[in-house]
Symmetry: C2
Subunit: 500 residues, 2 copies
């Protein structure tokens, strides 16, 4: 009976997976090739698919089958059990929120996201405030409803939606460690940086075709499978698409070759995870990537750990020079490495280097946990944001456009997402170190543009495991310890201070 | 109550429409940008969406709501009533076929279509025969099941699925007329053609970029709305996509400028129909195009009636010359018109000119009606096909690859589709003549590349009516008479014999 219930569930979740894949391709198309007049219809198509998937997921029969299958798991193998655990998680998350709250919060988020675009352009926080307040109010309700069903505090319940198993109690000590070390570390790093040669900017222009060709070459080198994916152009780069059909995008700027190139490598890191998910479980929950922290760890591992390393810069520099017909010492590997590891506190999160990036996250984490707890009102957000920028990075925020209006997350209803960026950076350092310890040739390989060993390690240890293990189980199995800040700090001290 | 039932149906069918739109974009992507390794997953995604739409359509509740709404239509306006009629039609077609027959016939068709690709390449009919026989057997069952529910003979029931309201009894006399006239007409036309200057082929090469630019210019001139559609490249040109998002495709050959250019104009005709559907009914059955004959009439009206006319050739010739840097008399309008209206019996349907094209259809219509009636066995198909080609076009078929293996329709399970090509050609002539009688400036406008008046007429009389009228009602309302061969014959005699 249990096996039958499990099989019925597998069929149900395969259908949900196919619908999610369909929505993934429609979403990709909306950002790449869709004509502008199709936007409204496309939103409706995607919304209908989401509703259908939600209906299948939250149907009473799904709950009954999960109860029946969970009642006696003896007939199931370890992967089936893990799959059932992930089905349960998805079911509880989705069914915890009443239908009218789903509709209201989704509508409010869409609306405040729309208002945000205009408010940001005009640096007009007052314009956004009432809509953001409504979005927050509804997200708090969602967090409470999920929390009640999952036995979690509201913020943990929201966090769990992005990063299964992650809790505020686990993040707090990790972030406290960063908070204690980071300001001093940034200062020391900047002092040392000042004593080194100032990096020479690469002289452009950088024709789009040459950028694209080089990007494709590096994707191929990193192991991107073009039989199961593509590179295209969109205003905001992303990794999306569907199972066995991973679509990444970038945006080219003819005055700057670094942004698209490093962006492509970042998205390639996400794509390798998606393309490396366990082949026999692709259409089941256990075959999905483990969560946003782990996903970000894979993009940062490729971009930050591997491709901004001195080794990879040695490989890249002559190829960059050749691609753009570069002359002079700006194109030397040393200068390239200095350019790619330049530390400079700035106002904009997405432009931040890997040393100052966590400061942006610590600030947002403090603010969003306070907002969800009811300890910070929307009207007090700009002041709190600006005060945080002053204390964490020593910067004065000249306008809300460059301050608390810069990110889409909160207006779009995403509370609990921000910490995954920095948790991912920590995990990236931890995975990379473990990989290099297991296979000491990895760094020398990178100097030859050879990702084979590293990709093999990631495929076996991370990608191919999908959601079989919980996040900390995965880290313990792979690196011998749970997620921590140690390897990340060691990485920063090694790269930026020449230690270790 | 009826109004409530109708509203519930409208909501249901809007959801089905959104799913169909989603499948349309996924289908377009599969033919244009999708990486090859994604094919299997994509087939699964589209199949799941089709199953979901089918489940919504055939749900018992849908039937109950239709019965309730149909019970008393007094509260409904004329468009609502027509919408309800189209809902009923869709419901009866879908619910007439038992689920296991739907699955079996769809699976058999997919499989025989796959075998067909290999069998065609090797001109190996014996390889296809058992699979085609199975597909035919199941399509006969589908025809019988639908026929029983709709009160129609099996072939009529299949035909009705492509062309609502069309019947074999209506086609037979029209095709008999063509059969009587066509062979003699072809002979007379070819004799006259032999007395005129032999058209000089346009000397290539024709760079893809120049072909594309000219195609886009002509699409724009014809009224294609690029805010609600695109032109891309695919192996087999088509018009697809979604509501307010019409995707047409072409394929470029640098040695031949005519195929892509006329192909783009043909698909633009389909696209104008889709883009011109009634704005307030876009997501309801009554807002759909009327059926395959009417759809083909719109593509042939643009390509054959308008764009291969002497008037349009006068507009096009200098632009073609400029686009490809052409020199000499090959680029003169007269020569271009002779090239675009060359009559030459050939083996391949899709390459046929508009005079010999109906012969290919008469043959296939005879064969498929006999197959569905059980009067022609698959093993006798090649002989019957070749005999038909001899008697209708005087051609010997050297191999099945160039004979009965050339088309995807039958292996793909499409019986009842072929006649719509020639019914569409008749309707195109009938619409075009009526438009020119209503607005006598249309032909002079075409000589200026101005489609405005013609498009306005089509928009008002055909496109904007969606499925509000049945096919013959539409023709009577628009041209004063039901579908006939008269205007089509008159068109051929005018264009190819200089009569009238």
């Amino acid at each position: 009976m249990t096996a039958n219930a499990y099989q019925s569930l597998a069929t149900r979740f395969a259908r949900i997976g196919a619908i999610d894949d369909a929505a993934g391709i429609l979403g990709w198309d909306a950002q790449t090739f869709m004509p502008d007049g199709a936007a409204e219809g496309r939103a409706e198509q995607i919304a209908q698919l989401r509703v259908i998937a939600h209906e299948i997921l939250t149907a009473a029969e799904t709950g009954d089958l999960i109860a029946e299958a969970s009642d006696d798991e003896t007939g199931l193998g370890t992967w089936e059990r893990a799959n059932l655990r992930e089905m349960r998680r998805a079911y509880h998350h989705a069914s915890a929120v009443p239908g009218d709250l789903v509709a209201a919060s989704s509508k409010a988020s869409s609306h405040s996201e729309m208002v945000w675009r205009e408010a940001r352009a005009g640096s007009d926080f007052a314009m956004l405030a009432p809509h953001l307040a409504e979005t927050l109010r509804l997200q708090r309700e969602v967090g409470e409803a999920k929390g009640a069903a999952l036995g979690l505090a509201p913020y943990d319940a929201l966090l769990d939606g992005y990063d299964p198993g992650m809790r505020q109690a686990a993040i707090d000590p990790l972030f406290a460690e960063l908070r204690a070390i980071l300001p001093g570390l940034i200062e020391v790093i900047r002092d040392r940086q000042a004593s080194l040669p100032t990096p020479i900017p690469l002289p452009g222009p950088f024709p789009v075709e040459a950028q694209k060709a080089l990007g494709l070459t590096l994707m191929r080198a990193a192991g991107f499978d073009f039989h199961r994916g593509r590179l295209d152009i969109s205003l905001h780069p992303f990794c999306g698409g569907a199972t066995n059909d991973v679509r990444i995008t970038t945006r080219y700027d003819e005055t700057d070759a670094t942004r698209a190139l490093m962006g492509v490598l970042h998205e390639t890191g996400h794509a390798l995870y998606e393309q490396g998910r366990p082949a026999t479980w692709l259409h089941q929950p256990v075959g999905n990537a483990r969560g946003m922290s782990m996903h970000e760890s894979q993009s940062l591992l490729i971009e930050m750990q591997a491709c901004r390393s001195a080794e990879f810069c040695a490989y890249l520099a002559p190829r960059l020079r050749e691609a753009f017909g570069g002359q002079g010492s700006a194109w030397d590997a040393d200068n390239l490495h200095r350019l790619y590891t330049r530390v400079e506190p700035g106002l904009i999160r997405v432009d931040a280097d890997e040393v100052t990036y966590p400061a942006h996250i610590l600030l947002r984490y403090d603010l969003e946990t306070a907002m969800i707890a009811g300890d910070l009102a929307i009207t007090d957000l700009p002041g709190a944001f600006n005060e945080g920028m002053r204390s964490l990075l020593g910067l004065a925020v000249p306008s809300d456009r460059l301050g608390c209006l810069q990110d889409i997350h909160w207006p779009g209803g995403s509370f609990g997402y921000f910490p995954t960026y920095t948790l991912g950076a920590m995990a990236a350092a931890q995975f990379f170190r473990a990989a290099c310890e297991d296979l000491p040739g990895i760094q020398a390989d990178l100097a030859e543009g050879d990702f084979t060993a590293m990709r093999g390690w990631l495929g076996e240890n991370v990608h191919g495991r999908g959601s079989f293990l919980e996040t900390d189980e995965l880290l313990v199995a792979t690196t011998g310890k749970p997620l921590g800040a140690e390897d990340y700090m060691r990485h920063l001290r090694h790269r930026y201070l020449g230690e270790g």
